[in-house]
């Protein structure tokens, strides 16, 4: 059992195209931040993010440490219809993973 992850994903049909909005739950430590005791927090950040529509891979994002904490991504997919499955998966530099799935509304 890892941390409780709350990755949010919304997909909506808007004038023929699918708008996808994603909010991942991740601290994105750069390795330069300090905790309250003044110790460096080791780097932990999402490196690889993928998005699928109905099992077809539509987007890959590689993130660096300069991606904000709790990364937010928003983009559109051409076409699509209600009920399409949008799935995402991310992996961070320490090997932690997360997935989320939604259907287009």
């Amino acid at each position: 059992m890892g941390l409780v992850r709350k990755d949010r994903i919304r997909a909506k049909l808007k004038s023929g195209d699918t708008t996808v909005r994603i909010l991942l739950s991740h601290p994105m430590h750069t390795g330069r931040g300090q905790n309250d005791a003044g110790d460096l927090i080791p780097a932990q950040f999402i490196q690889d993010f993928r998005c699928w529509r109905n099992k077809e891979e539509v987007l890959t994002i590689e993130c660096g440490t300069a991606t904000a904490a709790n990364p937010y991504f928003s983009f559109q997919l051409l076409g699509g219809e209600r009920g399409d499955k949008i799935a995402i998966r991310w992996v961070d530099n320490l090997g932690a993973k997360g997935t989320a799935e939604t259907t287009v509304k």
Binding site: D17, D48, I61, E62, A66, A68, F75, L77
Partner: protein
């Protein structure tokens, strides 16, 4: 005599294994390499914009500054908190192979490297961290051509912690 020899032996042994372990650790053999297979390590660890672009795209000179609409901050070109600065990339270019976002003054400039398929339609929106007042650069590679645009962003509170 015998005991001193024994002692020397264990000491030597310990020293050797410690040094080899240190070597293994620094060479990165203990990292989960398979997981990182798709991550452009050299590009993301580059400390200048040119190095990052060379490592990521294999070329650093840009061809054109048009065809690419880029917004950073809200209101544009200003950010109260550098830890999460909104960005938006819009373009009418076709066959986009890669979109990269870099922050010039960040310790590690490359923030995002996006590889959209033909099904993806821009605008693409996200949030990045900006350490201090800096040029923020967006680069698109489409049909083998590079398109680049940049915005200067003022930051009140640096956000690279």
């Amino acid at each position: 005599m015998n005991t001193t020899n024994q002692h020397r032996r264990t000491l030597l042994k310990g020293a050797i294994s410690a040094s080899t372990m240190a070597l293994v650790a620094t060479s990165g053999l203990l990292l989960p390499q398979r997981l990182l297979a798709h991550w452009s390590t050299s590009a993301f660890n580059a400390e200048t914009v040119e190095d990052a672009l060379l490592a990521l795209l294999g070329q650093a000179e840009e061809a054109s500054t048009t065809g690419l609409n880029f917004k950073v901050g809200s209101p544009p070109s200003y950010a109260v908190n550098g830890a999460s600065v909104p960005i938006e990339i819009q373009s009418d270019l076709k066959n986009i192979e890669r979109i990269a976002v870099l922050v010039d003054k960040n310790p590690l400039p490359l923030a995002l490297s996006i590889a959209p398929s033909s099904a993806v339609k821009l605008p693409f929106k996200s949030m990045i961290k900006i350490a201090e007042d800096s040029e923020v650069i967006a680069i698109i590679r489409a049909d083998g051509q590079l398109y680049k645009t940049s915005r200067f962003v003022e930051v009140d509170i640096g956000g690279c912690a």
